[in-house]
């Protein structure tokens, strides 16, 4: 297959169009401006709708409306912009509307910096909006995976009738890498009989709302959502194991820091330390069970979590490892990228304590 060089943001936009996304609503923010820019040209060409909304809030509520009518819809932004979208995400989860929200993370909190970061882990995995809901969170580590996961995100959203978050760090949005456009087999998906797309001979009206003023009815609804949560946890968990077959020191990282961690692990192996990388691909559902299993192996001595934040996924690593082995942390924040040598150093320090 022909390989081409694509910039992450453009590749995500093209992948969405190829996955049948027909509505994109967004508002510009660095480092993901190439997504709306690409959509503004190519979405109308493929018969879809592009609107640059007046704000992030407007954009996410346009997605809400489009999704309610049964159309594949997406919005994208970067950290502070995604904070503004949380209300819409909560409403879509409540109304069981499938949609894809892309967050190309930059330094925070607040307006922060425009350089790459991973400080929105808690927001994405714990549900940044109000109420009892969960969203599948997909975290690509290279541009090919960003393409594949974007397309998968639409299927997952439709299958569970739930918003899906593509959580990319700024490097994924801005870097260029070779990719191939694969022929993909879409999932078999339920018909959107619930869509508010006009009555068209149906004997009932479809009504989309998140207002359930009667508490017992609201709880019953939440319990229905919880069933889907359990199903997503069962079916959608993904991770990658790199050089873990004989590893004694396990680096845990997601997104592009996992590539820094991999280079560090290769360097550590040359120094005689058997290092490997555990890379969660879904951040929710988190691959707790497998990581717990790895932590239970006799040969595995210690863990080092590496993030472009000051320790957020660390909580999940601790939940998974459950005290079986030490869990150390190295992170940079605010738009700074962990350097390979820094990760190596932190790993060697963790290693000294257990060997």
């Amino acid at each position: 297959m022909k390989r081409e060089i694509w910039k992450g943001s453009e590749a995500i936009a093209e992948a969405a169009i190829r996955a049948g996304c027909r509505c994109f609503f967004g508002y510009p923010i660095t480092p993901q401006n190439e997504i709306p820019e690409y959509m503004s040209l190519h979405m109308p060409q493929s018969g879809g709708v592009f609107v640059q909304a007046e704000s992030e809030l407007a954009a996410v509520n346009m997605v809400y409306g489009a999704a309610a009518s049964g159309v594949r819809a997406m919005t994208s932004s970067s950290s502070p912009g995604v904070s503004l979208k949380q209300e819409g995400i909560s409403y879509m989860a409540a109304c069981q509307l499938p949609a894809v929200v892309v967050n190309v993370m930059r330094g925070g909190p607040g307006l922060g910096s425009i350089q790459p970061a991973q400080g929105d882990y808690f927001q994405a995995t714990r549900g940044g909006g109000n109420g009892d809901y969960r969203t599948v969170v997909l975290a690509p580590a290279n541009i090919q995976e960003a393409v594949d996961l974007t397309q998968e995100a639409f299927d997952i959203a439709d299958q569970y009738r739930n918003p899906v978050i593509l959580l990319a760090d700024g490097l994924i949005g801005q870097m260029m890498e070779p990719i191939v456009w694969k022929e993909r087999t879409p999932r078999e998906l339920p018909k959107k009989t619930w869509a508010a797309s006009g009555r068209r001979g149906r004997d009932h009206s479809n009504f989309v709302t998140s207002l359930l003023i009667d508490a017992p009815a609201c709880e019953a609804h939440n319990l229905e959502l919880a069933k889907k949560t359990a199903e997503m946890e069962r079916n959608e968990c993904r991770w990658e194991e790199i050089m873990l077959d004989d590893a004694e020191l396990v680096l845990v990282a997601y997104g592009t820091p996992s590539r820094v961690a991999q280079t560090a692990a290769e360097n550590l192996r040359r120094q005689g330390v058997k290092a490997g990388v555990f890379r969660p691909i879904t951040l929710w559902p988190y691959p707790y069970a497998r990581l717990r299993e790895i932590a239970g192996l006799d040969r595995v001595k210690t863990f080092l979590t590496v993030e472009m934040s000051l320790g957020q996924m660390l909580d999940d690593v601790n939940l998974a490892v459950a005290g079986q082995k030490p869990v150390k942390f190295y992170g940079r924040s605010g738009g700074m990228i962990p350097h390979v040598s820094e990760v190596e150093q932190a790993a060697l320090e963790a290693w000294k304590e257990v060997k």
Binding site: R3, E4, I5, T30, I114, M175, P178, V340
Partner: protein, 226 residues
């Protein structure tokens, strides 16, 4: 091909669509010119891309004697299209060899338009970098449309094509050869000469069959894990 042969004019303006490898080419060109004993200034004029800019190689460039002209550190991430005042030195000091690393596509090249009157007074060349693996410019038709857009936006005429076809870490001689075909087609169509091909030094021995000279580079714009 030496950098001096590549830069037969005092000021070399490097343009091309995003992802064609302008910055890699410009950085290598500046380093090679400096190694040849020239007084070189490299200007980072990309006002669009926030990451992967020539200014990220400031240390390397300055150690090699290249003076980097870039937005001051305090403004570097301000996300505003600010240009460094020092740029005027490149344009006015005729003892300096200038390499201008310009943002991709016509929007990115807009920054040059205000300097057109000054550039026209200087001995300059405008190069257009090609990469056959970039979807936006992979056919001669699209590559020429982008080239004409840059010319219209800047009011400057392109004087040379550079084939920098690559696949990041997965480049091989075959890819560069495929790019040579695209370069040839664009050249035939426009009458603009194909100045050179760009290849990592390790591929140069495999490319002796190419008609045009090869400018050898080392990869300087690495990703954090490379």
């Amino acid at each position: 091909m030496t950098a001096a042969e590549c830069c037969s004019h005092r000021v070399t303006i490097v343009t091309g669509h995003y992802g064609t490898g302008k910055t890699e080419f410009a950085v290598n060109l500046a380093l090679a010119l400096a190694a040849g004993g020239e007084r070189v200034m490299l200007a980072d004029l990309d006002i669009v891309n926030p990451y992967f800019r020539s200014r990220e190689r400031r240390e390397l460039l300055e150690e090699a004697g290249v003076r980097l002209v870039a937005t001051p550190r305090a403004l570097a991430d301000a996300d505003v299209p600010a240009l460094p005042a020092e740029l005027h030195t490149v344009l006015e000091d005729r003892s300096v060899r200038g390499v201008l690393d310009v943002g991709g596509d016509p929007s990115g090249a807009r920054v040059l338009a205000r300097f057109r009157p000054r550039l026209l007074k200087e001995d300059h060349q405008l190069l257009y970098v090609l990469n056959a693996n970039r979807h936006e410019v992979r056919t001669a038709e699209r590559a020429i449309a982008c080239l004409r857009g840059i010319e219209a936006m800047t009011g400057l005429a392109c004087t040379g094509l550079v084939n920098n076809t690559h696949l990041c870490g997965e480049t091989d001689a075959e890819e560069i050869r495929a790019g040579a075909e695209l370069g040839g087609a664009v050249s035939r169509e426009t009458g603009i000469p194909l100045l050179c091909h760009v290849a990592e030094a390790r591929f140069v021995p495999e490319l002796t069959d190419l008609k045009e000279p090869v400018f050898a580079i080392a990869i300087r714009m690495k990703k954090p894990w490379e």
